[in-house]
Symmetry: C2
Subunit: 137 residues, 2 copies
DNA sequence: GACGAAATGTAGCACAGGCTACACTTGCAC
DNA sequence: GTGCAAGTGTAGCCTGTGCTACATTTCGTC
């Protein structure tokens, strides 16, 4: 019998999607904020995510530990090269999911909200199908 | 100006989606297991979700607290009326999302995995659009 | 340069949802 | 009815992600 790679089941996959989710949303937001305002401060993220600045701080600690951001005390939040790469692919995927929902006929307001959650569970194959659907519009 | 209901932003919505997610997946699984085998035991759920039986136990405690299941020590897991209702609507939504991905051209294996995460972030408007797309196939 | 508001940091808390190790119960084989 | 395997329960641990309260720093205004 062919030695089959142990496949995580679908619930295991969803759990790992969620483990990456915060990182994806934060680096995307940090990149946007830097592009829009020249720098990203903790207070910007707290407002965007509707969480306390303490939660942002702790999250930044994890993202720094994981190599996605750098900060110094009282300084702005910067992205590492890995953070920029993750931001880019996350934004691209998010945009495709958003455009796809619009193409499906969903309203802008609902597409905004639903795509924010859906994006993290879309595998490359599904993303390609969504992209093709948008292009065929 | 019209008094607008305070809208939670999209990240707040995603967080509340996730808070409901475990309950939705578990009651769906419990209903399936009861339908398939006549009764649902903790060990069945542990195998299905690939978690330890301790995790299932603690989760059952929360679901019991929230009024979705009932159990007695060493007894099988039962659904309350509220649990059955949640299972029914969750399964229906899950099925539509799954069928939709298939209709989009995604493979069965990938549709299985992706729909397990996506289902929890699909609002009624998006679900209606997916349903219409499947019907129009 | 002093001051006050805004931003940031820190201590300490809570809950969800994972785990291992170990104890106890149940139920089936014999 | 004994015994063992499977199932279940419990203690105690961890990380992630949320919070309030309070201390400290920064920075623009005067
Ligand atoms: Mn998101
Ligand atoms: Mn999700
Ligand atoms: Mn489901
Ligand atoms: Mn699910």
């Amino acid at each position: 019998m062919t030695p089959t790679k142990k496949q995580p089941n679908r619930h295991t996959r969803v759990r790992s999607d969620h483990a990456r989710e915060l990182a994806e949303d934060y680096v995307e937001a940090i990149a946007d904020q830097i592009a829009a305002a020249g720098a990203c401060r903790a207070v910007d993220l707290a407002a965007l995510f509707s969480v306390s600045h303490v939660t942002v701080n702790r999250t930044m600690g994890r993202l720094q530990r994981d190599g996605f951001v750098t900060t110094e005390p009282y300084g702005p939040i910067e992205l590492t090269p890995a953070g920029r790469r993750l931001a880019k692919t996350s934004r691209r995927r998010h945009e495709i999911v958003h455009q796809f929902l619009i193409a499906l006929g969903v309203s802008e307001a609902v597409a905004d909200v639903d795509s924010e959650g859906i994006e993290h569970h879309v595998s490359p194959e599904t993303l390609a199908a969504m992209k093709a659907f948008v292009a065929a519009q």
